[in-house]
């Protein structure tokens, strides 16, 4: 039942840490099966906004959210929504690879198991690892520790782990920032592969990466109260070639600050 093309919509979404407003008045429509990049200078609230999308901010005691976040016309912040269900539907890959201190196999199986997966686990593990372009590298050592993998492999394992629970949307917070150029490229290729089935929202500091890999780009910037906001949201091509805002142009061309 897809009554619109948007995976997620925000309606005047603001995020506060205590009395400090970190992100203010965001209105975004994120298209399904597209890659949306969020860019902007450090501290402008990119991670805060991204974490708001799957209610990871619930774990920051001082954090509260106003406005609406709509998934399938349902406000994810309304009282009758269970945050566990939100995170089940909207998976997240973190900036630093954080596999579980368990075997490679178990890293993928655990999430599936706790969510009540009833299919064949071996198949799910293989399929997820293949989707994350990691299968060939680890198929002979599934029972070994995930900590023995390289940083890039660990990050792909985290992506595989997220794919395994079959979310609708995958959030990625600078997933390649700790990786070398080759691993970065592999993750980008992977994203192109994944967008056939998933909606991807990615935070990145890497302008080339945003330009190369994303379909849409949201440009964030802080105002004079130090509250971050989306100052421009458009097709990536437009943002990088004919930005509507001077600040965006300065930022993407490296003339910022």
């Amino acid at each position: 039942m897809e009554n619109n093309n948007y995976a997620i919509e925000t309606n005047d979404l603001s995020i506060h840490y205590g009395s400090f407003t970190a992100v203010k008045g965001v209105n975004m429509k994120v298209e399904r099966q597209k890659i949306t990049a969020i860019i902007g200078p450090s501290g402008c609230g990119k991670s805060t906004l991204l974490r708001a999308f799957n209610r990871m901010n619930d774990f920051v005691p001082s954090c509260h959210v106003t406005g609406e976040l709509l998934l399938d016309n349902q406000n994810l912040y309304s009282k009758d929504i269970d945050p566990v269900e939100v995170r089940r539907k909207i998976g997240m890959v973190f900036q630093k690879p954080n596999p579980f201190p368990k075997s490679i196999y178990e890293n993928i199986a655990w999430g599936a198991r706790i969510n009540g997966f009833k299919g064949k686990m071996d198949e799910l593990v293989e399929q997820s690892l293949r989707s994350a372009a990691l299968w060939d590298e680890v198929k002979d050592k599934l029972q070994q520790s995930a900590y023995a993998l390289s940083g890039g492999q660990q990050q792909r394992l985290c992506i595989a782990r997220t794919i395994a629970i079959q979310p609708e949307i995958i959030l990625m917070d600078e997933p390649a920032s700790a990786l070398d150029p080759i691993s970065t490229l592999r993750i980008e290729e992977l994203m192109q592969e994944l967008k056939k089935n998933y909606t991807i929202i990615i935070v990145t500091h890497n302008m080339q990466q945003a330009a190369r890999a994303s379909d849409y780009t949201a440009m964030m910037m802080i105002d004079d109260q130090r509250a971050g906001g989306v100052i421009e949201f458009d097709a990536t091509k437009t943002i990088f070639t004919r930005p509507g805002d001077k600040r965006t142009e300065d930022y993407v061309t490296g003339r910022f600050g």
């Binding site: 990871m56 269900e85 995170r87 997240m92």
Partner: protein, 412 residues
């Protein structure tokens, strides 16, 4: 460039400066080394002091010649022979009293042999010497014994014998053992850990993972930290008031049909010890839980885990080594504490093994304290031996806990 360099010493000035820095470093290093040496000396002195009492010469004689009771050499007496002798020679009152404590027929050969030596032959210790004296002044001691106690036999003895471990308390040092006390201590540790581990970990999990950070939890946290430093005698008073008195029907076992007991049971004492180590347990578990990286929690939440699944599958397993460390400290504390046991009412003379939570009991430190306060030197020797037993028990329980910890500390 040159202007910048003026701010830093150069050439010979640099070297004299450097020498000063090295001098300071050497002084501190020496201080640290002396601290270590002092620590080593203290520990060595401690161990030597204990061992010095546990081994050494003893001069003893028999009040009654064993030959009066039997023609068999006393080391070869069988259980049946001993029974016959005891029945014949002891007054029927004394015999019946022993029989009431524990059926004579059910006692082992070594138990009966000890009774034989204690009640009939009546071994009598004349004098004891420390290990140092025995080793350095052997000839003098022999001369002294020959002169003062012509009938006595002189023997170099280890007061720490297998028998010492397996015999219960006795009013004669030669026949006294620590079995009752060791069992009592083990019961205490068992009950205390059974109480403090689940309660402590539960409280820690709640405080770290569930409780909001507000003034109330702050007060609770501060109080837990302070409770860890409350003198143990205070816990003794608490145990006496709550477990021995108020909860008597539970701790005496009356609730469960035990009739011949009051609240001064090993259960009361164990629970008192459990409360005593609870703050320690909570704080350690909290530290362990705090040390589990947030990225791991986020990873679990990120794949749709509930808080409980995150705690159970990730936080607790990773905190387990730290929790075990807390248990080790708790065990050591329980084994060593004396004051609360005195208040709660450990028996000072008891020869029956504790066999249920509702038993009367004694514990190693109580026994040691008791013996050291006796005037006779031989009691000081068995006190020293009991200290060795206590230390070995402590080390082996700790070693077990450390082994368990290392097994749970499976580094991936």
């Amino acid at each position: 460039m040159s202007e910048q360099n003026q701010n830093y010493p150069e050439g010979s000035a640099f070297y004299s400066e450097l020498r000063k820095r090295y001098l300071t470093a050497t002084i501190w290093q020496t201080l640290f080394l002396s601290a270590l040496v002092i620590a080593i000396i203290s520990l060595t002195a401690l161990i030597y002091n204990v061992l010095d009492g546990a081994f050494g010469y003893v001069a003893y004689d028999y009040k009654n010649d064993p030959a009066e009771f039997t023609s068999t050499p006393i080391h070869e007496l069988t259980k049946e022979e001993l029974l016959t002798i005891l029945k014949a020679e002891l007054s029927s009152g004394a015999y019946n009293k022993l029989d009431n404590e524990k059926k004579m027929e059910d006692r082992s050969q070594s138990d009966l042999y000890i009774l034989f030596l204690e009640r009939l032959v009546q071994i009598d210790t004349k004098a004891t010497w420390s290990m140092t004296d025995s080793l350095t002044r052997g000839d003098e001691i022999r001369a002294e014994v020959a002169e003062k106690y012509p009938d006595a036999e002189l023997e170099f003895r280890s007061w720490l014998t297998p028998q010492f471990l397996t015999t219960p308390m006795s009013s004669k040092a030669e026949f006294a053992g620590v079995r009752t006390a060791v069992l009592g201590s083990l019961w205490l540790v068992g009950i205390a850990i059974l109480f403090a581990l689940p309660v402590g970990v539960g409280a820690a999990v709640y405080l770290q993972e569930y409780a909001p950070h507000n003034w109330l939890t702050n007060i609770i946290q501060t109080n837990i930290n302070n409770l860890a430093g409350v003198p143990s005698i205070v816990y003794g008073m608490l145990g006496l008031a709550v477990f021995v008195r108020v909860m008597e029907s539970f701790t005496s076992g009356a609730m469960f049909g035990v009739t011949d007991s009051n609240g001064r049971t090993v259960l009361s004492a164990g629970l008192t010890m459990g409360i005593l180590v609870l703050p320690l347990m909570i704080i350690n578990a909290q530290e362990a839980i705090k040390a589990v990286p947030d990225s791991l929690r986020q990873a679990a939440f990120g794949v749709g885990a509930t808080r409980w699944q995150t705690i159970w599958h990730h936080v607790l397993p990773n905190a387990l080594p730290g929790i075990m460390t807390g248990s080790i400290l708790a065990i050591s504390r329980t084994l060593g504490e004396t004051a609360p046991l005195i208040v709660v009412g450990a028996s000072t003379f008891i020869s029956l093994d504790p066999d249920s939570p509702f038993s009367k009991f004694t514990a190693l430190p109580i026994q040691i304290y008791q013996w050291t306060t006796r005037p006779q030197a031989e009691f000081h020797s068995i006190a020293a031996s009991a200290i060795v037993v206590l230390l070995v028990l402590l080390l082996s329980l700790n070693a077990t806990a450390i082994l368990l910890r290392n097994r749970t500390q499976r580094k991936w």
